[in-house]
């Protein structure tokens, strides 16, 4: 009986291993036990512990994302076959990209030899070995990984995650309590219970735009994809991302994130029910630096959501977008994003010298393990490089992540059940020689033009290009783009205000006023439109009407020195000197260096 067992084992093993190679994901092939056949036996203490301590324990320890600890022989033995399967199938450690020409920082990838060793250990009975050979237990920093932050922000209200049901996407808004501009070199994200949070993303909301989504202040709001309104030209574009195992990233000197008074940080989380109700209350640790940003990375977005109209059953639905770099850049990090139907995600670079390189290739997309990938070394991409996003989607029954059974037609959109085709690249444009302009403006304009060409019926594409051209001072072309946007949405307050603003700048007051009035008809509490209309009326000499507009503006935003100063000026023009004085003083209280308010006040006092 014993000899039969021994003869039988090697055959069984061959079959088992072959099956593992063929079936992806199926679980019909747990490793079989085997007696050692003369060669050195693989032991936990000598062979396996070094792998587990380095690759698994950082997450698989109390308080971290791993659902069970892997710190001792007993811990690992209790999941030995499971570990053999998940490492073999490269489910663990969770790392989606294939190895490529441009390696990523903090790669969580086992070597083929390490995987084979784990399998052999389990086949040989998962023995402990000589305790004297056990390496030292890994040392982990407790608490904040970068030390005590300068400010710790905690979500005002927790989110209660139900025991079961679909994955949930919840957004927490953190109001940053600073009085003046600060520079942030690192944001450490503590997403609450790490076992439940699949990933978390911080968005910088400079316009308090996300607050409108909250039912009550501090409550947070649901939604997988959120959009924050940004300035026309935001020079600080940073990825602030957390996934299990993330080491908080500290930006080098000169690349800090700018935080102004009134800036909100919005934490977008992906939560997975655990089987029992859970309380999620994340916090953020901000680490400041006194070194302001001197170089400014930008986020480039390739996307093609309008082409996402995937018929049910389609197994290889292809969506692409290509963008030609108008300037030299260093590529710092990359973030591919699709939802549940994503299958094979690639970003390619075709260089001007004819070379083609994969910037990233994820052959088996899994939304649950999405991440921002930072390159070990910046990847130089010269002007003329064509960056292509090439995403393949599977809307068949074969895609087990498909949220619809049977499959249904799926289109692009923001809900989890819609699909997305986004590729974000964080790039550092190379400086132009002095006097030749800002490469970031060139890049943003090219991107905005690309979006208009791709989606001529897209309101935002025209609006953004218009805003870009206006910022550059090209008022004529800006007007053209704004008018194209207006054709798509004639009542839109933002574009009417923008057109009014451009007309005002061009001195075409009669054209400006109807657009500003239209903006206020759609959105009566629109500060910018009241302010612009006040200026337009004042320029026409209609100071009484201008006073009304500036009064409305300061009611909406009592903290704006310009509006206070202009209100003072308009009041002075109508002879209401006492009130004028009060508003100049208010402007100076908000901004003691407000030159116009100071000069006018002095004139009044003479």
């Amino acid at each position: 009986m014993i000899s039969l067992w021994r003869w039988g084992t090697p055959c069984l093993l061959v079959i088992v291993i072959a099956a593992m190679g063929q079936q992806h994901g199926a679980q019909s092939r747990k490793p079989a036990s085997a007696a050692p056949t003369g060669e050195r036996r693989v032991t936990f203490t000598r062979d396996i512990a070094p792998i587990v301590f380095q690759q698994c324990a950082p997450c698989h320890r109390p308080g971290e994302a791993g659902p069970f600890p892997l710190l001792t022989y007993q811990d690992v033995k209790k999941h030995a076959q499971q570990i053999a399967v998940v490492t073999h199938d490269r489910i663990m450690p969770p790392w989606l990209p294939e190895p490529g020409k441009f390696p990523f920082a903090d790669e969580m990838r086992l070597s083929a030899a390490q995987i084979a060793l784990i399998l052999k250990w389990v086949e040989q009975g998962a023995v402990e070995g000589n305790p004297a050979e056990l390496p030292a237990r890994p040392h982990f920093v407790q608490g904040w990984q970068l030390g005590q932050p300068d400010i710790v922000l905690t979500a005002e209200k927790p989110f209660i995650l139900p025991a079961s049901g679909d994955d949930r996407y919840w957004n927490f808004i953190f109001r940053v309590p600073i009085d003046s501009t600060r520079w942030v070199k690192a944001v450490e994200i503590r997403p609450g219970d790490r076992r439940l949070v699949h990933h978390a993303n911080v968005l910088v909301d400079r316009m308090e735009s996300a607050r409108r989504m909250e039912k009550e202040p501090g409550a947070g709001f649901g939604g997988m994809e959120i959009k924050v309104v940004s300035e026309v030209f935001d020079p600080d574009s940073h990825f602030l991302f957390w996934k299990p195992g993330t080491v908080p990233y500290t930006y080098p000197d000169g690349m800090a994130l700018r935080l102004d008074k009134g800036t909100d940080l919005v934490l977008n989380t992906h939560l997975q029910p655990s089987g029992k109700p859970e309380v999620i209350q994340p916090s953020l640790g901000l680490h400041f630096t006194d070194k302001p940003a001197t170089v400014h990375p930008m986020l480039l977005q390739l996307e093609n959501d309008t082409k996402l109209d995937i018929p049910p059953g389609a197994k290889n639905f292809l969506v692409t977008d290509s963008f030609t770099l108008p300037v030299d850049v260093d590529l710092l990090a990359i973030y591919p994003h699709a939802h549940y139907l994503g299958k094979d995600l690639q970003a390619l670079a075709a260089l001007p010298n004819g070379a083609k390189e994969a910037l990233i290739h994820i052959p088996h997309w899994n939304l649950n393990w999405q991440a921002v990938y930072r390159y070990k070394q910046p990847v130089f991409l010269p002007k003329g490089t064509v960056i292509t996003m090439r995403y393949v989607y599977d809307n068949s029954e074969d895609n087990i992540a498909n949220p619809n059974s049977p499959p249904i037609r799926v289109r692009g959109g923001n809900r989890a059940r819609d699909e997305m085709a986004h590729l974000w690249l964080q790039v550092l444009p190379k400086h132009f020689p002095a006097g030749q302009g800002d490469p970031r403006m060139v890049l943003q304009e090219a991107l905005a033009r690309h979006n208009v060409e791709k989606n001529p019926a897209d309101f935002e594409a025209h609006y953004n290009l218009g805003a870009m051209l206006q910022a550059k001072g090209d008022l004529k072309d800006a007007t053209g783009q704004y008018n194209a946007a207006l054709q798509i949405r004639p009542d839109d307050a933002t574009v009417n205000n923008a057109l009014g603003g451009v007309m005002l700048a061009r001195g075409e007051l009669d054209e400006a006023i109807p657009h500003l009035e239209a903006a206020l008809k759609t959105q009566p509490d629109y500060f910018d439109a009241h302010y612009n209309l006040g200026n337009a009326l004042a320029s026409q000499g209609n100071f009484a009407a201008a006073v009304e507009q500036f009064q409305a503006a300061v009611r909406i935003n009592p903290e704006d020195a310009d509006a206070e100063a202009n209100l003072g000026s308009a009041l002075a023009e109508t002879g209401r000197l006492g009130e004028a004085k009060m508003h100049f003083e208010r402007a100076l209280k908000i901004n003691p260096n407000h030159a116009l308010a100071r000069e006018n006040l002095q004139q009044l006092q003479q």
């Binding site: 009986m1 014993i2 992806h24 994901g25 199926a26 679980q27 019909s28 747990k30 659902p67 069970f68 033995k77 209790k78 999941h79 030995a80 076959q81 499971q82 399967v85 998940v86 199938d89 489910i91 663990m92 969770p94 998962a126 025991a163 079961s164 679909d166 076992r195 029910p273 655990s274 089987g275 029992k276 109700p277 549940y340 899994n366 649950n368 393990w369 087990i400 992540a401 498909n402 949220p403 619809n404 059974s405």
Partner: protein, 194 residues
């Protein structure tokens, strides 16, 4: 009870050293599961003439944990007609840790410890979570996954599309054999446990 278990253990280890290939340990000392008070308990004997479902679970198995609401809901749907038991095959789980777990996960089911793997063997259980369905006469008619929610580790469907446990219970209730007698489960291997 403790004394009795201790004796079995000692006998087994002595004999196993000499004649392990010949004797089936089960014939030497009847194996049993225990309730949380430590009393030997045979769930089938407790439910004469009723369909019995054993659900093999672990407190440290995430897939097993995520199934808690499904298991609780199914057991509530069949309350009075089908006897559900949670079975913990891990020797290291204590009555205290199991009680806390039942409370955390909102379980209202009786729980058994199965350190000798008596129920694991009679149910052919290999994975947590996995179920065994015994019909009214206590013949095993289905064992395996609860449904096909998980295709593999880290590969859950949006929602399961087949419901093997529910189907097996329905069949047993109407006196039929389930169409599927077993289906491989996804989760943690019982054989990894001591």
């Amino acid at each position: 009870m403790r004394g009795q278990r201790g004796i079995c253990g000692v006998l087994l280890s002595l004999i196993a050293a000499m004649i392990f290939a010949v004797l089936d340990p089960g014939s030497l000392c009847a194996q049993t599961a225990f309730d949380l008070e430590g009393r030997p308990t045979d769930p089938l004997a407790q439910a004469a003439g009723r369909i019995t479902v054993l659900v093999f679970v672990r407190t440290d198995c995430p897939i097993s944990n995520r199934y808690a609401p499904t298991i609780q809901k199914l057991s509530a749907e069949y309350a009075g007609r089908v006897a559900f038991w949670l079975v913990y095959p891990d020797k290291a789980e204590t009555a205290t840790s199991i009680r806390k777990y039942l409370q955390d996960y909102g379980y209202r089911l009786p729980a058994l410890r199965d350190p000798q793997r008596a129920l694991v063997k009679s149910s052919h259980a290999e994975i947590t979570p996995e179920v065994a369905v015994f019909e009214q006469k206590h013949e095993l008619v289905y064992h395996g996954r609860i449904d096909n929610w998980y295709e593999g580790f880290s590969r859950p469907r949006g929602a399961p599309t087949t419901h093997e446990l529910d189907d097996a219970i329905q069949a047993a209730l109407s006196g039929r054999r389930p169409a599927v007698a077993s289906a491989a489960a996804v989760g943690c291997y019982i054989s990894d446990l001591e």
